[in-house]
Point group: C2
Chain length 420, copies 2
């Protein structure tokens, strides 16, 4: 009886920690070996460890290049592309399990399907529908470290799906939720979340913590994290810890609770998106359905539209402006010119633009922050092209070559280098 009781106490009662390692942390055999030692160290904390891995280095890009080479320029089939890309994470997950076993630790790799990750059938950007953790739980109960291939799942059709670029983060947070983990740890080539891009100002400071909502704005605006994983953390209240896979420096905890580690500032950080273009459709005959008429053809082509501004109508016509990534600008303006539902005078494009945003939950209900942002930029001689705001974010569109000037001015104005 006693030994059975002991077994039930040790089985399934250890806290679970989910770790995720990105591709640059796994780019070669030596790095995989190093990460294996970090995992072993974490396992020593008497926790059950689930590790989600991305594909090694640039291996996914190499597979994509091969696909384009065999199809000679025509678009590779989405279903085949998903199975092809999923092999990158199978390689890294099996190598990691081998590396751990060679150190004498019991480990096993699970593909997305083996880890019970069920998705819808949208190849290339599938969403997780459900996770059946039975096998994962069994392996953990046997004391094993479980390595899960990120980024992939299984559709009801029996076909492999992928969750979209960078979605191994999403796999990790979803598995943390499904296993009721203590937290999800994302190890990457940056060592945490900073007040702004440290390449833009030496005063950039690493944050000890940030809220999900703030991080969501930062992620969308160019910080190196997958926004879907932050959303998932927000919805299921799963704390996400972001830190370097190359050092033991403390990272940043993204969470939904009260700030506990530092006094809360109104503005938490400055996000930058460097590669923005705008398209202005001038002289649009203003009638109901204009916005849909212009934007639906873009959506049909898979072009993401970001900031959208429609000027007040004068004399029956209006100007309609939106932003896209620099890579999409030519294709987007072609689509707009080719559509026939909306009459317009001309299409004008503007490139070499950037978005600079201040983000912080403390700005809610505090209108003074917008004014201070705009006056700071004005004093620095920076012209603002467009403005858009959310509850906790104020975004300005400026010229790309003024990014550094803008960030330094704003970082100083909001005293982000100070912790209180």
């Amino acid at each position: 009886m006693t030994s059975e009781l002991d077994a039930s106490l040790t089985r399934g009662t250890r806290p679970v920690v989910v770790q995720k390692y990105g591709g640059s942390s796994l780019a070669n055999a030596e790095l995989i070996h190093n990460v294996a030692q970090r995992i072993i160290h974490r396992k020593g904390d008497r926790v059950d460890v689930v590790v989600v891995v991305s594909a090694m280095g640039d291996s996914t890009d190499k597979l994509i290049a091969l696909a384009h080479a065999v199809t000679k320029g025509s678009k590779p089939d989405a279903r085949e592309m998903d199975t092809l890309k999923s092999t990158g994470e199978l390689v890294s997950s099996t190598l990691m399990a081998m590396a751990l076993k060679s150190h004498g630790y019991d480990a096993i790799s699970l593909s997305g399907p083996q880890a019970g990750i069920k998705t819808d059938t949208v190849h290339g950007s599938a969403r997780i529908a459900d996770i059946n953790t039975r096998r994962l739980r069994d392996e953990l109960d046997q004391g094993r470290i479980v390595i899960v291939a990120g980024f992939q799942g299984l559709a009801d059709s029996g076909d492999i799906t992928t969750l979209g670029r960078g979605a191994s983060d999403t796999t990790a947070v979803a598995l943390a939720v499904a296993t009721s983990a203590e937290r999800c740890e994302i190890y990457t080539d940056v060592d945490g979340i900073y007040t702004t891009d440290p390449r833009l100002t030496s005063k950039a400071r690493k944050l000890a913590e940030i809220s999900f909502l703030e991080m969501l704005e930062m992620a969308v605006l160019g910080a190196k994290m997958n926004p879907r994983s932050i959303e998932l953390g927000l919805v299921y209240d799963m704390p996400i810890y972001v830190a370097s896979s190359f050092s033991d420096e403390p990272g940043t905890l993204i969470h939904g609770g009260e700030y506990t580690m530092e006094v809360r500032k109104a503005v938490t950080g400055i996000a930058v998106d460097r590669n923005v273009a705008k398209i202005t459709v001038r002289g649009v005959i203003d009638r109901p359905g204009v916005a849909a008429g212009l934007l639906q053809p873009l959506a049909d082509e898979g072009i993401s539209v970001d900031v959208i501004v429609q000027n007040a109508s004068s004399e029956g016509t209006t100007d309609f402006t939106f932003t896209v990534t620099g890579a999409d600008v030519q294709r987007a303006s072609d689509v707009v010119r080719a559509q026939t539902r909306v009459e317009f005078a001309e299409v004008v494009t503007g490139t070499d633009l950037a978005k600079v945003s201040i983000v912080g939950t403390g700005m809610e209900n505090a209108p003074g922050y917008a004014a201070r942002m705009f006056s700071t930029l004005a004093e620095a001689g920076i012209n603002i092209d467009m403005i858009t705001t959310s509850e906790i974010r104020i975004t300005t569109l400026i010229k790309r070559d003024e990014i550094q000037n803008a960030v330094q001015a704003l970082h100083d104005a909001f005293e982000l280098e100070k912790t209180d």
Copy 2:
């Protein structure tokens, strides 16, 4: 009614052809593109086409090298190794399906598990237990070309298995049997089966046909085909056509029926195995269990033993000789020396040996062939070290540097350059 009848006539009633393409035929995007065109050409024959692919070029070797790098010399886990290696065929199968689709042909890739290939759980050298062709049949019935990842299957545990080196041939023959295909076509970098290795004599002649039993002997003795696939063809009477993937030259049909294309010769071919070593255990105390006592420890170490000769006993001791591949000789002699069940005087090794065999079903019940072989070698001044025979094969062990001399003499003596 008529259209339903038409549909039932076209569905599932087209003959099925299974093709297999080896890794050297798929080594880069251009070659994959070329093979896609060959497949399309075959599809034009109003047949259902199932294509089995190996991994691209040396990609499997690269994966194995990575595994050894991360485990730093210790043996990589067999289960992880199987999932790792299986990715090579997933890559080539998805790329082939994409290439076909880019030519406007409907195609789909299926992994081993998706193709319903169930195996036992012996990782690294699993055997096919069963094939559920439901999905494969569905895809063919929809007019699709089905590309199956060779070399892999699914164990009952839900884990990926591989069938062993070169076993994509086995996948192809097994699928041909399971789909009641007309025949299995193996396309490779050789253009058929020759009377002997063409590098050894310019008189070597490509055979239009060869029997399963003869091919089995040739395959075991070094011809470039997987013996298990020949066995499978023999057991299920599935004709196997071997030809070049780079040309349209006619190849060789391996089959179990009567010879129809050429007059049957007594000796069909000469097989050569270049890398043989022998181990002689001298002064073995002769009592029951000697052979098992010497060979079981070798089997336990995974060392394959080939020709075995035990000399007649004299004065209570005997000499026991067997051959292994050159790569295994040091390990094998160590194992024999370390075993304690059999007492012996000394272990002597001989290296740089080769096996030269004549093969032909016509030799059954015709003892004159052995005598002609031995006298031919004697006239050529070649010393025979060991002899072993089967129903349709006579094998001699000779010095490696006498291979060419032996093959040319035998090819002439049995008039293999002539078709009648």
